[in-house]
Point group: C2
Chain length 248, copies 2
């Protein structure tokens, strides 16, 4: 049984804020060690000051050309290129990038929409697994127990419409549940399956949120069997190795 | 808040079984109309008799060649090709296919692992949206209310390791939650987002399951705002149009 509850009452997060303390203060009851705290990267990026003011961005030639071809702001494209180690596709106004972390996603995860009034865009955390580990440790100090922590973003998919939230950072849980070769209840060998547990936890958290409310943090219980004492390999374990990539 | 509970006590499903009646009998309490019944396609396919006995399959030349090149059973490859309208990639023992429905997935969704003892493999339902509509109507007759219904399979992802459950059939819910252009609680225009709600519901159901138990059906509550009076467009709405496919 899985239960996912959005955390109410988290204040607006600002650069330099102690996000763990803000979450701990908003909790209606102490965390249990068998819960997972799922956090939209937006508040992590904000707390870490991962804002780029477009006024201060000077687009270089490639950014200007791409912006012209795809009807985008050249300064925004410059930020996207700086966040990327490869540009996989540019078509119909969408730049599909591989970020420096290795995530393949639209616009290298640069979020321009919520911040237009301020003339700034938000980029992904520099090291989301490290952010997850730090948040886990901080919650362990302040909130009663060290939960699992997942940091999420919404990614599109190559062959399916719409976005699903996925884990871009994780600590204190096994991101993959590997059933390959195990047998099921009736003794039959299971379908070759390695389940992206961290991504499915990200998805349930997004589902639990009311999108037009301010609910960047969701507490998930019922996933205790995936939690680990150590921080574990993080969401980096969910990246497909380049040698195994059939669709680049 | 999202709550997902696996249904206990569903019997083994056999070809010709009335799956709706089996689910209705196993329910601990009547369904509410604001719940979603998420069903692993395996039991839908079984009830619909979507088994192929490999003894009766004659592999043709292309199947024999692919099987030889990728170390697979030529009869299994023949079934996979018959379930496909295109083969996108064949590499390292994996056939990435586009099924006749338009799903892009490994082995055209043909599940060979759980059925080896019987010498048979399981294929996807012919029309999973129709299966979902029929199951929704049947549950409406027998189980107290017409819930939302989702039929799922586990798909890999192009750039991420591990599988996530996705919706291959749906009825009675909006598969996509389109927030593009809407404003958030603070009046700012939201990130260009269309959320694949049906896929996220599939993911939470898989998370709620104990993989080595027999729990192909999961009841999800808390998603009432996505439910619809009519059956809606089904999971077909989640297929990316070929013209928009950047990664074929």
């Amino acid at each position: 049984m899985i239960l996912a509850r959005p955390l109410e009452g988290l204040p607006e997060v600002r650069p330099g804020d102690d996000l763990g303390a803000l979450i701990a203060r908003a909790l209606p009851e102490p965390l249990r060690g068998d819960e997972v705290v799922v956090v939209a990267h937006k508040v992590v990026s904000k707390a870490e000051g991962r804002l780029r003011h477009l006024d201060e961005v000077i687009p270089r030639r490639r950014a200007r050309e791409l912006a012209e071809a795809h009807g985008k702001d050249p300064r925004l494209v410059q930020v996207i290129l700086e966040e990327s180690r490869a540009l996989l596709r540019a078509a119909r106004g969408v730049l599909i990038c591989e970020t420096h972390h290795g995530f393949v996603c639209a616009n290298a995860g640069v979020d321009a929409s919520n911040l237009r009034g301020e003339g700034a865009v938000l980029t992904l955390p520099v090291d989301p697994d490290a952010s997850a580990r730090a948040l886990r440790a901080r919650l362990g100090e302040l909130a009663g127990a060290r939960p699992g922590v997942i940091i999420t973003d919404s990614f599109g998919r190559a062959w399916r419409v719409g976005q699903c939230d996925v884990a871009i950072g994780a600590a204190g849980l096994a991101p993959l549940d590997d059933w390959r070769g195990r047998v099921d209840a009736t003794g039959r060998t299971l379908h070759a399956t390695s389940i992206a547990v961290a991504d499915q936890l990200a998805a349930v958290a997004d589902l639990a949120r009311t999108k037009d409310a301010w609910q960047p943090v969701v507490i998930v219980s019922g996933a205790a069997r995936h939690l680990t004492e150590d921080d574990g390999p993080g969401a980096a374990a969910l990246l497909r190795a380049r040698a195994d990539d059939l669709f680049r």
